[in-house]
Amino acid sequence: MSNVKIKLENVSKIYPGNIIAVNDLNLDIYEHELFVLIGPSGCGKTTTLKMINRLIEPTKGKIYIDGEDISRINPVELRLNIGYVIQDVGLFPHMTAGENIAIVPKLKKWPKDAIEKRVTELFNMIGLPAEIFSKRYPHELSGGQRQRIGVARALAADPPIVLMDEPFGALDPITRVILQDEFLKIKKIIKKTIVFVTHDIEEAVKLGDRLGIMKDGKLIQVGTPRDILKNPRDQFVRSIIGADKIYKRIDVLKVEDFLIKDAPAINLKCSLKEVEDFMLKSNTEAVIVIDEQKRPIGIVSWADIYQSNDKKIPVENVLKTINLQIEMGENALEAFKKMANLNLPFAPVVDDNGELKGIITFNNVMKILTS
């Protein structure tokens, strides 16, 4: 992810009457990432997007793709190698879905059989059977189907870059979610550099590898969804991400965001007496039992200790094994789901070596989300 694919250098777009749409923008977009430009309407996000395929020419500054100044590339040539999806889809109503998908390969003069093969491939990818849909006209398709065709059309000639301008914006909420999920899957397969414009923070967080938050033609903050949600730079960013509603975005946080590091842990060879003392001292209801390699083996609670009258036996004889280990870097929501399924109040978190790093509990979820 370190190769800069698209570079914007001091880019400004000023319209007659000194209307500044984009103001001295600097941005590196890396290869194979999905970069989301997000902001309120009129913030310059679409203008920025359209400068990348030269539908709009910057007033000042330079844009580079693979290090090449795009103002030196013929705009038609440039666009043939950049996929483009817009909110209104813009399917040609006088062409069938198949013909629509085939437009760019045809413009690029691919051989006929190669085009046909590619079109079928794309129909499969977007989950619409080619034999049914390739001969249909856009007016015979639902909004969601049209937008899928729009995405397929943009990907048809396998361009390294795809620009998407609120592609799911005009769809109803349910269709939108379905298409977003499908698109996430497609995104993993296709390995493209995608610049995505939206005003929907949920969508941005869900799809984006990195976000750029824009206001009045300027980038206010750039970072991963997680960085931005955790550390919004200012009040504007807070308002965009809806900081007061952060609980909705547990899905982008990771296990380490909820990690309690000083989890009580005790070696499996310790006697019950030692465990009892330890638990009293640390005022805890249960402790994690670890082996010599610091790997969590199980848990022991007061009830387990009271099972035995012999306080000299090692704790490994009474412990309850844990069938769940959460690894660092896991998605927090997934981790909590696993805990809930097993009805566990907490779960040990381990690193790559299986070494105990701490625990997560349901108790501090709200504490962290509301802090």
Binding site: R79, V89, L91, H94
Partner: protein
């Protein structure tokens, strides 16, 4: 009779084809340079308000009698609906479609031929239908300047007070106009259905 019918159709359709060639080009031109649209459509509109007999008479000293003044008159009459419908047809295309076409890397010319014109075709076709039907009517007048056609029967009949002859001329002209209108209407609806999925 058949000869006059063919002559009539020739007059009406030669002028129409001429008007199509010029009118569509002007229509495309003003859809691109929109500042010229209103003046040009207005001028073409004024042409339409001048009585056809007046134009015919004015043209006689310039191009003589016979078919030339008739074809020129019909051509001038046909221009306005074709220019206007081409212009409207192109301007009415959803801008998102044009944006998508540009964004995909189509050249100006490719967009015109593969997108704009096919999508404007139903509206242009409506213009053609109006014009063709109208032309058939006006062509009947052109017999006055010796252009021939079915109008010949009407004028001859008028001069000879031969009502049968007049009626033959009038009826055949009317039937021709109605058939043309219906036929072109059918084509228009087919095109519209293909392009937009509606109409028909």
């Amino acid at each position: 009779m058949i000869f006059r019918l063919i002559e009539h159709l020739q007059l009406a359709f030669y002028s129409l084809i001429l008007a199509l060639a010029v009118g569509i080009l002007i229509g495309i031109f003003i859809s691109k340079y929109t500042k010229l649209a209103i003046p040009i459509i207005s001028v073409a509109g004024i042409l339409d308000t001048i009585p056809s007999l007046a134009i015919l008479s004015v043209l006689i000293p310039l191009v003589g009698i016979g078919k030339p003044p008739a074809i020129i008159t019909l051509f001038l009459y046909s221009l306005m609906p074709i220019i206007r419908n081409t212009y409207v047809g192109i301007r009415e295309i959803n801008p998102a479609i044009i944006e998508a076409a540009e964004g995909m890397g189509m050249t100006e010319m490719q967009i015109l031929i593969k997108v704009r014109l096919p999508l404007a075709l139903p509206v242009i076709m409506a213009g053609i239908r109006t014009t063709a039907t109208f032309n058939i009517g006006i062509t009947a007048l052109a017999a006055v300047v010796g252009a021939g056609g079915l109008g010949t029967f009407i004028w001859t009949g008028l001069m000879l007070m031969d009502y049968d002859l007049m009626l033959i001329g009038a009826l055949t002209t009317s039937i021709l106009a109605i058939v043309t209108d219906a036929g072109l209407g059918l084509i228009e609806r087919r095109i519209k259905k293909r392009v937009t999925g509606r109409g028909g």
